[in-house]
């Protein structure tokens, strides 16, 4: 079946870990936007949700770092973080090993992807799921792009991964939804935590919404690090989602800089053809 939903959002740990420190109105608006995203995903009646993430050393390390990985298990655990810190209870989340395998076989036709029969979620997946599928009742298929340990996956390859995921999703009989939680500008987990380049974020999202491939792929890592910080490397997940939308345009449903959450908090979706 053609992909039934394609979106992108923030995964900043502060959204749950420091929830009460944000202005109430802003927090409620953000939570509302993420809950709406969950409602929209459910309305698309998916059989599984592919989460294209930018994980932070929960599974992959510099001893054997894949440019891309996809989970292939019937369940996953997360979050790895201290529960009191992240304020998300550690739990088991359903997967679908057989479906994962077919999707991986599809992706492998054009992109060399590592597969993983074990996968622990960190805030990069657990924070979005806390809002999108709070009952953990939808099978999740985790995917990852190396946004953390240089040398990083090139942007044009993140695009190719998105295209490959789309082709694989379209080729299976199941209804597949995709969400890509990443980051735009941020300087996470450093003394600069809270710094946000709102102008850069809005420019990136404008390129995303018009699904302008050349403009999305024109950033160098040096420019991204200068203008968007280390966290800006996570634009790769947004880029994969844009590619998966196959030319569809996007809508930015929410985007506000929230310094205490250390990011421009975002919820966005591509308007896929019915």
């Amino acid at each position: 079946m053609p992909l039934v939903y394609c979106g992108a959002c923030s995964h900043a740990p502060g959204i749950t870990a420091r929830a009460e420190r944000a202005d109430t109105q802003t927090r409620q608006a953000l939570h509302g936007a993420l809950h709406k995203m969950g409602d929209d995903i459910r309305a698309a009646r998916p059989d599984a949700l592919v989460v294209v993430a930018a994980e932070h050393f929960a599974n992959f390390f510099m001893n054997n770092m894949p440019a891309f990985a996809i989970g292939m298990a019937d369940s996953y655990e997360g979050p790895i973080e201290d529960e009191a810190f992240l304020r998300i209870k550690r739990t088991r989340v359903p997967g679908n090993k057989a479906l994962s395998r077919r999707l991986i076989e599809g992706v492998m036709q054009t992109v060399d992807v590592a597969y993983a029969e074990e996968w622990k979620f960190d805030h990069g997946i657990s924070v979005p799921l806390r809002f999108l599928t709070p009952d953990y009742d939808l099978p999740i298929i985790p995917a990852n792009i190396n946004c953390q340990g240089p040398p990083l996956t090139p942007l044009k390859r993140a695009w190719a991964f998105g295209e490959a995921l789309r082709a694989a999703a379209d080729a299976v009989p199941e209804r597949i939804a995709m969400v890509a939680p990443g980051g735009i500008s941020h300087w996470p987990a450093t003394p600069d935590s809270g710094k946000i380049n709102e102008k850069w974020d809005r420019e990136f999202l404008a390129r995303w919404a018009t699904n302008d491939r050349d403009a999305l792929l024109s950033y160098t890592d040096a420019e991204t690090c200068r203008d968007g910080g280390q966290g800006g490397f996570e634009v790769r997940t947004f880029i994969a989602a844009a590619a998966a939308a196959k030319g569809a345009k996007g809508t930015i449903e929410f985007c506000e800089p929230v310094p205490v959450f250390a990011a421009s908090c975002t919820a966005a979706r591509m308007q896929l053809a019915a």
């Binding site: 050393f57 599974n59 201290d82």
Partner: protein, 117 residues
């Protein structure tokens, strides 16, 4: 090479409850499995978040490591700032500090910008 070993140990500690238990019960036996300098070993044991930051530990590893030690968020940020004062700039990696006005001043600036339209 050595920073790699520091980060590898933190990676295992962050993600694996069994390594966490072993670290509590038989810390030295865990530590000898990694090629660490005396400075790195002491920084992990303390834990000296400021020094680990300056040594170049990736923030995404360090943040989880601090949370594992129940170090509160603002305290975590302050320890990194103190580390910079004591030990100078970050020596390796991409998590160097670039300067920031701080969340309170930033919030006030955003509020003022919204009010003036």
């Amino acid at each position: 090479m050595s920073l790699y070993q520091v980060q590898k140990l933190i990676y295992q500690l962050n993600r694996d409850p069994r390594t966490q238990e072993r670290f509590l019960r038989e810390r030295d036996a865990v530590l000898v499995e990694y090629e660490l300098t005396e400075e790195e070993r002491a920084a992990i044991v303390a834990p000296d978040i400021g020094l680990l930051y300056v040594l170049g530990v990736n923030g995404q590893l360090l943040m989880h490591f601090a949370a594992l030690h129940k170090i509160e968020w603002l305290d975590y940020l302050e320890r990194m700032r103190q580390g910079l004062k004591q030990h100078g700039q970050v020596r390796e990696g991409v998590y160097a500090s670039t300067g920031y006005e701080g969340v309170e001043a930033h919030d006030a600036r955003l509020k003022a910008e919204r009010e003036t339209g």
